[in-house]
Symmetry: C2
Subunit: 258 residues, 2 copies
């Protein structure tokens, strides 16, 4: 059995449960099945501009019964990271919505004496003053955490800088290397596993991206099931040296593997 001994799942949201503003046929029922069968899961997304509550509300609108606490994103990973280290002083360079994920999880007294500088896709909140405070915090001993390290994304009015270049700027200024807590970093997957309380060998990642989902999960010690929805492309899979443990037409078929 491909999924022998599986005790829990990580499930990519975009491309596995939804495409754009539509639920993928059978995805709601698959989530219901896993819930009824008692499998714990985390729905993962690399979103660093939307907080977990916003993502949960969107899934609810699309008919999913997915509690907010089972949504796992880079901000959630960063919060988990802080819980594990027991250090909570952080300077956030992120957008307002995502800061809701950090409410109660960290404190900021406005000084440069913090434990973490956490950089996400901050958009217009990137200023010289903000970058300079981040720089000074790092020079005084803070650790650099990147919610993602993408270079750019397609905004409505054109290509726009993501968090990556600003993270690289702070790395080059300080000589420090950021800990990336977004998919497909090992750190992200390990924090998601810790959040579920399961070891990697007991967990299966279900994703539509052969590289970041399947390759990332396998590098973190998990098994990977590829779905033929979302960004799935047959030729990308054939070219890749990554081999998923199973490939299914959509998450609707996950129960055939159990």
């Amino acid at each position: 059995m491909t999924l022998a001994g599986v005790k829990g799942f990580l499930i990519d949201i975009d491309g596995v449960l939804t495409t754009g503003e539509t639920a993928i046929p059978g995805a709601r029922e698959a989530i219901q099945d896993l819930t009824e069968l008692g499998y714990p899961f985390r729905c993962v997304s690399n979103s660093t501009r939307k907080c977990r509550a916003t993502l949960a509300a969107r899934l609810e609108r699309l008919g999913f019964a997915i509690p907010e606490c089972t949504i796992f994103t880079p901000p959630a990973a960063a919060v988990r990271y802080m819980e594990e280290t027991g250090k909570h002083r952080a300077f956030l360079l992120t957008t307002g919505d995502v800061e809701r994920d950090f409410a109660g999880a960290c404190t900021d007294n406005g000084s440069t004496a913090v434990d973490y500088v956490i950089v996400g896709d901050a958009g217009d909140r990137v200023t010289y003053a903000g970058m300079n405070r981040a720089f000074r915090c790092l020079m005084e001993g803070a650790e650099l955490i990147a919610l993602e390290k993408d270079r750019y994304w397609m905004d409505r009015d054109g290509l726009s800088l993501s968090a990556g270049p600003f993270v690289v700027a702070l790395e080059s200024a300080t000589g420090k290397i950021a800990t990336v807590v977004g998919k497909p970093s090992k750190e992200f997957f390990h924090l998601a596993l810790h959040d579920m309380g399961l070891p990697a060998q007991d967990v299966v990642m279900i994703g539509d991206d052969i590289y970041t989902d399947i390759g990332g999960a396998q590098a973190a010690g998990m098994r990977g099931v590829l779905v033929r929805t979302g960004k799935f492309r047959k030729d990308a899979c054939e070219k890749s040296t990554i081999r998923p443990e199973a490939t299914i037409n959509s998450i609707r078929d996950i129960r055939t593997l159990l």
Copy 2:
């Protein structure tokens, strides 16, 4: 003769002509000598926060007779660079004072269709919108010019980010490599030579920094004379593999070499 065939000079301002707000003894007379003997020269500085007019006014206050057109800085080098390529559309990410050096030399219609993105130490003028416009200009074909690539400097209230990290951010976002037109880049020295209309072998650089002044000038094909003023340190010279063509107590003694 060490300086056989010399036809012109590049002279570092800080540490050779001035220290802080004081003229180095004999420096005014040395400039007067060179002028009377008919040697063309450029007074060079890596200042990217002060325009040439501001630097000239400061030198005048200290008693120097140095025309503004003989002051050569990274912004002057960038203007020279644009003159040589015949392309003049540029987006400037610099401070207000330095923009005076670019007045008349380049145009900016506010679009992303420009020839150059020119990044200096822009301080509070670094915004997400500015960085994003720079990014889009580069993605649409503009060339990246860095007035300097320093990581940080000591401002009154603490260490502060210089232009370097923001240049690195744009390089990492676009995959382009910046042309650095500040000392000690070869580009800077070559543009200064073009500005004087002299070949490298006919020009001597007078500086107080064994690495950036002497090493940089020699790498560009010039000769270098080290002065024992400014940041000169005997042990730094002894440790270095760089050998100046001559070392003199101060620029006052330059005429002994002619």
